[in-house]
């Protein structure tokens, strides 16, 4: 394919590459697990928990948006030559292309959710006289002729959207019921009875309910967003729904890539300390006590300030603003990973210490099995559940930490869409009269949903994997 035949060029930012590498890794892992009955069993236990599965569905929606938002490209400039194409400096993503107007329909300044007027009065020329009134929005409710039409129009759109969502979920449910009934060789009526009484062996009711709710919500949002700013607009008139949806990727990147940095350090050093003991243990313990004793935020702040200084003094290394912000995001993940491996390492050290005295490890040693092989065959599989629990438990904490760090001024780049930056900006907005609350509200709703879903899912995973909790419920 020649460069002239396509009108964009893909851009792979650092975090994009890592995210898709991570996705590939997870898929491979899932494939391995699905082929081993003893590995599959705890996951099947997770799948039987209604709360965990409902949360997983919600997480899935966030992940899909985050992944779509990680496919970056740059548009070809309209006036560039065919044989020597030039591309826009603005880096867009598949998600931007998908929501289209949400990104481009920019108002002048603040406007309330679902409003058709700006939030502040302005002097407007009308029939030759200058009057002070709320100017109409360029896009929000542009089709309306009069303010009285706004509420009925919103209600109508809401109902249509919800109805479409409901119809879609009914259709999906019918397909699911037909397929499942045939698979389990039951009459449809009996399958429905089983479904209604929760006797399917998997949480059918919860999944159906959450799916229906998500579809209806999506329908309402889609219909309203077509002609309104559902969460209003921010200071420069950008749609707040768009900003908060874009923030999803930032949250996910921080929650996942940080763990990716943590894992090799925590697993390698933790197991090494517990298995080899002696001076190896002393050195590793010393290192993590030193790191642990430094207040976390301060260590992160110090490191981020230094990276920031480096980026500022070497502007030539990055060809556009997105790449610069991306490197800073990656640096933040690295720094947070470097400072947060100590907890898991200590846990794994203790466990490895216990495991390495067991008879089967002694036997393996007596047979002359190498250290690497003992660790990979006998120690690591037995601490894997701890690693997994730590991954899912840490995720929500990291998403929350991003907001705090951005507030302190050592978080992601100020130009990057993130919930931390939204909350940070909202402080001044709340002090206005009347208060601008929608940016804070949108960040709150989305962040809370993601973190709550992650926490509920993590609880399910922990209950299924932690042998100490088994049999207590």
């Amino acid at each position: 394919m020649t460069a002239g035949s396509i009108n964009f060029v893909p851009v792979i930012l650092w975090t994009d590459g890592l995210i898709f590498a991570l996705l590939a890794g997870v898929l491979v892992l899932a494939w391995i697990i699905s082929r081993q009955p003893h590995l599959r069993a705890p996951w099947a236990a997770v799948a039987r928990r209604p709360m965990a599965m409902g949360a997983a569905l919600v997480l899935g929606v966030f992940v899909v948006i985050g992944l779509l938002d990680s496919l970056h490209y740059r548009d070809k400039l309209a006036d560039s030559l065919a044989d020597k194409p030039q591309y826009s400096v603005e880096v867009l993503s598949a998600f931007d292309a998908l929501v289209g107007r949400l990104r481009t329909e920019q108002e002048k300044t603040y406007s309330a959710p679902l409003a058709m007027q700006l939030y502040a009065k302005e002097f407007v020329e009308r029939d030759g006289v200058t009057v002070r009134e709320y100017p109409r929005l360029k896009y929000g409710g542009a089709a309306l002729k009069h303010a009285d039409e706004r509420l009925p129009d919103i209600t109508r759109r809401g109902i249509i959207g919800a109805a479409q969502g409901l119809a879609a979920s009914l259709l999906l449910f019918a397909a699911l019921a037909g397929w499942q009934a045939r698979r389990s060789r039951l009459p449809l009526g009996e399958w429905l009875m089983n479904w209604g009484e929760g006797r399917l062996g998997w949480p059918g009711r919860t999944i159906t309910l959450v799916l229906a709710l998500l579809l209806m919500l999506g329908g309402v949002l889609a219909h309203l967003a077509a002609d309104y700013h559902v969460f209003g607009t921010d200071k420069v008139g950008q749609d707040v729904l768009y900003i908060t949806l874009k923030s999803i990727r930032t949250g996910l990147v921080i929650g996942t890539l940080t763990t990716l940095v943590t894992l090799p350090l925590a697993i390698g050093l933790g197991i090494a300390a517990g298995y080899f003991r002696g001076w190896v243990d002393d050195v590793i313990q010393y290192v993590y006590t030193v790191l642990n004793s430094i207040p976390g935020v301060l260590l992160i702040a110090a490191a981020v300030l230094i990276v920031q200084g480096y980026i500022e003094s070497n502007p030539g290394l990055f060809d556009n603003a997105a790449a610069r912000a991306d490197v800073r995001l990656l640096a933040l993940c690295l720094i947070m990973g470097m400072t947060s491996w100590t907890g898991l390492a200590r846990l794994l050290r203790g466990e490895a210490l216990k495991l390495s005295t067991l008879d089967y490890v002694d036997a393996a040693r007596a047979f002359g099995v190498s250290h690497t092989r003992i660790i990979s065959r006998h120690i690591f599989p037995n601490v894997f559940h701890l690693v997994l629990i730590a991954i899912v438990l840490d995720f929500s904490g990291l998403v929350l930490a991003e907001a705090v760090l951005s507030y302190v001024g050592v978080g992601v780049d100020p130009s990057m869409y993130s919930w931390g930056n939204m909350i940070n900006g909202a402080r001044l907005e709340l002090a206005r009269e009347p208060a601008v609350w929608w940016q804070l509200g949108a960040a709150f709703v989305f962040m809370f949903t993601l973190v709550l879903a992650a926490n509920l899912f993590a609880d399910g995973v922990r209950d299924a994997f932690d042998p100490r909790l088994q049999g207590r419920r």
Partner: protein, 325 residues
């Protein structure tokens, strides 16, 4: 006991040296004084003279580790490492970029920090343990189930929202308490109340859930069955037996933070305008005042290590079987 304490204190020294070397590496080797000067002076086109002047003013004009121009022991003492890093061992922190003595600032600001952090710690601990015991009392009922779900919901809300919502509703909308500020003495109570309440509420979710797992683990043990078999009431079992035996894990988490209470909380103090160490630190981070950040890192590490030692001491207090040797 005394020998144990001495050994622990001696063991703390290499850790503090490690912290010191790490901060030295971060602040002076990775980020040279020239970079610091450029960052502080702002503009991209600063002259070398301005950088030199800034370095002289702040005492960063010396060699990092070895001063070849000096003679005798001054070869080692007249360096950045000795003046700015090693000096912290005697709590000599030097001056911040605003020219004020950091040691004095720390002394003045510890009080306000403690005025917030100490009540938060004590009340928070009591509230969390009470909620946890309540959930355990009603365990495997819907009250417990929804209590846990409620905890997870509370945990999922960012701490920033608690503060913003508290300030907006209680202070701005309902005018019950001042939105921020601080005065010493008994008049300061009205300023302290809101941050303390907000911080305690923000901590309930995670705290109560954590203590609940401790107590649930404890309640499955044999001595609880024995106590019940003796005919003790459930309340008595919980408060006399389970709470006391759950002390070790509670102390592990709680005692270590007591010394660090002096440092205050970055976010709470900066939102509520408390002139404590937390807001001092956050201001320093935002102004990129490396001298202050360095001092706070060192102070935080010292206090953390003190906390670890206190934790060990508290074990022997809570559990007579633990002997410190």
């Amino acid at each position: 006991m005394f020998a144990y304490l001495l050994r622990r204190l001696l063991y703390a020294i290499p850790i503090l040296i490690g912290v010191n070397l790490l901060t030295f590496a971060l602040f002076f080797v990775v980020n040279t004084p020239d970079d610091m000067a450029r960052l502080q002076l702002g503009a991209k086109h600063v002259t070398p003279e301005a950088i030199t002047r800034w370095k002289v003013e702040h005492g960063y004009d010396k060699p990092l580790l070895l001063n070849t121009q000096a003679t005798g022991s001054a070869q080692f003492t007249d360096t950045i490492f000795f003046k700015h890093s090693a000096a912290m061992f005697v709590f000599e922190f030097g001056k911040g970029d605003d020219g004020r003595n950091i040691g004095n600032e720390i002394k003045n600001r510890m009080g306000p920090s403690l005025a917030i952090a100490l009540p938060v710690f004590v009340i928070g601990l009591m509230v969390n343990i009470t909620f946890a015991l309540l959930m355990v009392f009603f365990r495997s009922t819907y009250l417990d189930l929804w209590g846990v779900v409620g905890c997870v919901v509370l945990m999922s809300i960012s701490g920033l929202f608690y503060i913003i919502a508290g300030q907006y509703f209680i202070a701005k909308l309902w005018n019950l308490l001042p939105i921020s500020g601080f005065v010493g003495g008994i008049d300061g109570l009205k300023f302290i109340l809101l941050p303390v309440v907000v911080s305690v509420v923000a901590g309930i979710g995670g705290g109560a859930r954590w203590y609940r797992t401790i107590f649930i683990e404890e309640i499955g043990k044999d001595y609880v069955r024995t106590a019940r078999a003796k005919g003790l009431s459930e309340v008595r079992v919980l408060f006399r037996h389970v709470l006391k035996n759950g002390m070790i894990p509670i102390l592990t988490g709680a005692v270590v933070v007591i010394p660090t209470l002096f440092m205050g909380s970055l976010i709470t103090e900066s939102f509520f305008g408390i002139p404590g160490l937390g807001s001092y630190t956050i201001d320093a981070i935002q102004a990129q005042d490396f001298a202050v950040v360095r001092a706070m890192v060192f102070l935080g590490s010292v206090l953390y290590i003190v906390g670890l030692i206190l934790t060990d001491l508290s074990y022997s207090w809570a559990d007579p079987r633990v002997r410190l040797q």
